[in-house]
Symmetry: C2
Subunit: 354 residues, 2 copies
C-alpha cells in the first residue's frame, strides 16, 4: 500500500473502563487488559493491526500508565505522557503537531487503544481507503456498519458518495448516542454507521482545522510541539498542558468541520467492539465460566479468576465477575450501571480496589 | 412446671439443608451451623430451650455427625447414632422405645434440631400445655400461628376445642404443603396452623399407635430397644436397622391417628423459622452484607465469609453467598431451587464441595 509510506498512527490510551470493574482498575485500565483471552491486551491488539499499515506508531497516555504501555508495546516509536487527562483532542493534537513538525507531509490516523477488531483484512481495506480520501484534504472517519439498533454508540450520518472511492461518502452530521427508537430508525435509514472515533487526515489539515475551531488550544499545542525535541520539553509541557482546553476531537473538529462539508466517512465492514461493558464483553467472548454450575441461568456470563466454585441459580442473564479481591454480581441489562460500584467504593475511601 | 418431671425430649438431627448450600454441607449440615449469628448453632439453641423443660434430652443423628453433635451439646443425656437415615419415625421411635423401657410412665416430645424460636417463654407455655394434654392419652402437636399464607409448610387443621386447656383443639386433619391460593384460604379460615413437626405424648401412647399402624417397624424398634442397655446393642442395631420402614412420623402416626380423633394441637404463639432457604434466612437475620456495595439492589441478601469485596448492581432481591471455596448467586424468588446446585456439583463428581 504505497500511500501508507508516510502514514503515522496515533493511539490515545485513556479511560479507565469503569463499567468493566473489577477487571479494570485505575491502575490497570481496560486497554492494558487481555479481555478476550487472545493472549494479547487491547493496546497490543491495536498496535498489532496498525503495524503493517503505519510507518510509525505513537501512543498518548497518562503518566501513571506510561511504563506499563512501554512494557506491553515496546515496538511503538514513542509514548507521549500526558501530565493530566485533557480528553482526546489535546492528546491527538499534541502527537499530530509533533509528527507534523518532523514531517510536514505526514498523514495521520487516530485509533483508540481499547477496541477489538477480530479481522485484519477488512480493517486494513478501510484504513487504506481513508488514507487515500484524506489526500484530498478531508478529515476521514471510519464508520462501523451497524449490526443492530445500538443505543450505546454515537452515529455518523453519511450523505452523497465520493464516486472516485469504493465506499466514501461526505458526512452529513454526527449524532450523539440515540435512544432505542431513534437507533432503530437510524438502522432502517441505512445511511448511518457507528462512530468508533477513528479519524484519518493529513496532519496539516487537522492542525488547520484546530487553528480554525480551537485557536487557543492550537496555540498551546504548537508551543509544546516546538519544544518537544529540545531540552525545554518537560518545562513547557508542565507549564502549558494544564491550561489546554479539555475537549474531545469529535466536538473540537469532527462536528464543526462536518457542517462545512470537510469530513468524509468510509465503510468499516468488520466486526468491532469497544467492549464498553460486560454485556458487550459477553457478546464478544461468549458466556464464559465453563466450570460454573448454572441452574435456570443458561445465558449467564461468568469471569472467575479465583479458585472458588461459582454457582448461579435462577438469574438467566446474570453477570458474575470474581477477581482476587472483589466479586461483582449484576445482569447484562444492568451492565451500564456497573461504574457506580467502584464509585461507591471510592466514596467509602477504598481506593485500593477502584 | 411439675408435669415436666418425667418429660423427656427427643431431638432428631437429620437433613442436610441443601437449600442453604454452600453454607450447609453434607459434612456440616444445617443443624450444626450458627445461621442467625447468635453464637449458638441451631442444635445448641434447640437444646438450650428444652433444657429447662425436660428431665432428659436425647439426640438422634447420623453416624457421620454424632461426634460433632456430642461436641456441640455435651450436656445432653445421650446421642443415638443411626447407622443410616430411615426418616423421622424410626429415629424418634427408637429413642421413645428406649426411654419407655427405662421409665414406662415417661412423657416424650420430639423437636427438630434445625428450627429457630427466638422467644423462650411462649415456647415453654406451649410445651407445658402440650404435656398436660398428653396425659389424657392424646398425641399432641404444637401448631405455629401463621404469619402469612406460606406455601412452604404443611398445615394442621384444628377442630373442636378441648375446653379444659387454654388453647388445645382436636386435630381435624393434617394437610401437605398447599399452593399459594390454598394457603391464603387456610389463613382466612383461622383454624389452620403450621406443622413444625413437634409431637408430645406419653411414650406408651406413641408406641401403641406405632404398633397399630406400623407393626413391623414397632417390632423391629422393640427388639433394638431391648438390646440397648446390653452388650448386644451394636450387633442388633446393625442387623435390624437397615430393614426398618423408612417413614416420617407424620405419615406413620400423626395422620392416621388424627382420623381416629387421637391427635390434639396446642397453639404455638411464638416466632418460628425452619430456615428452609435463603429467603427464610434473610427474613430471620436481615439482609446482611453491611460491607457490600449495593446499586439498585437494596433488598439483596449477602453472606460473605471471605475477604473479597461484594458489589451487587441492579438485582434487587439478589442472594450472594461466599464461602472459602464457593460462590452462590441467586434470588430470594429462586431460593427453593438452590438445592439443585450441590446436586449439579455432585453430578460432576465434586463431592468435596457438596
Amino acid at each position: 500500500v504505497t500511500s501508507t509510506s508516510s502514514f503515522h498512527a496515533i493511539v490515545p490510551a485513556g479511560g479507565a473502563g469503569t463499567r468493566l470493574w473489577p477487571l479494570s482498575r485505575t491502575t490497570r485500565p481496560k486497554f492494558l487488559l487481555d479481555l478476550d483471552g487472545s493472549g494479547r491486551t487491547m493496546i497490543q491488539q491495536t498496535v498489532d493491526r496498525l503495524s503493517p499499515l503505519a510507518s510509525s506508531i505513537h501512543v498518548v497516555t497518562g503518566q501513571a500508565h506510561a511504563e506499563q504501555v512501554a512494557a506491553q508495546v515496546p515496538e511503538v516509536d514513542s509514548v507521549f505522557r500526558e501530565p493530566s487527562p485533557r480528553d482526546s483532542m489535546p492528546a491527538i493534537g499534541l502527537a499530530a503537531a509533533v509528527i507534523h513538525q518532523r514531517d510536514p507531509n505526514a498523514t495521520i490516523g487516530s485509533f483508540a487503544a481499547d477496541q477489538v477488531i477480530p479481522e485484519y483484512e477488512p480493517f486494513a481495506e478501510a484504513v487504506t481507503e481513508a488514507i487515500e480520501v484524506a489526500q484530498g484534504g478531508q478529515v476521514v472517519t471510519i464508520g462501523i456498519s451497524p449490526t443492530g439498533p445500538s443505543s450505546a454508540f454515537g452515529y455518523i450520518d453519511g450523505a452523497d458518495r465520493l464516486e472516485q472511492f469504493p465506499t466514501a461518502r461526505r458526512v452529513a452530521h454526527f449524532v450523539e448516542k440515540p435512544d432505542e427508537a431513534t437507533a432503530a430508525s437510524y438502522l432502517a435509514a441505512g445511511t448511518f454507521s457507528w462512530n468508533a472515533g477513528m479519524f484519518i487526515s493529513r496532519a496539516g489539515v487537522l492542525l488547520d482545522a484546530l487553528a480554525a475551531f480551537q485557536p487557543e488550544l492550537h496555540e498551546g499545542l504548537t508551543r509544546i510541539a516546538a519544544s518537544w525535541d529540545t531540552p525545554e520539553r518537560d518545562e513547557v509541557l508542565e507549564k502549558l498542558w494544564p491550561s489546554l482546553t479539555k475537549i474531545a476531537i469529535d466536538h473540537a473538529i469532527a462536528e464543526p468541520l462536518s457542517v462545512q462539508g470537510g469530513v468524509a466517512v468510509v465503510a468499516g465492514r468488520f466486526r468491532w467492539s469497544d467492549v464498553g461493558d460486560f454485556a458487550a464483553l459477553a457478546d464478544l467472548v461468549g458466556k464464559g465460566g465453563d466450570d460454573a454450575v448454572r441452574v435456570e441461568a443458561d445465558r449467564s456470563f461468568v469471569v472467575n479468576n479465583s479458585e472458588k466454585l461459582v454457582s448461579i441459580v435462577g438469574i438467566d442473564d446474570a453477570v458474575v465477575v470474581v477477581t482476587d479481591d472483589a466479586i461483582l454480581v449484576t445482569t447484562r441489562a444492568a451492565a451500564q450501571k456497573v461504574r457506580k460500584a467502584p464509585s461507591a467504593w471510592a466514596d467509602r475511601g477504598r481506593f485500593d480496589v477502584v
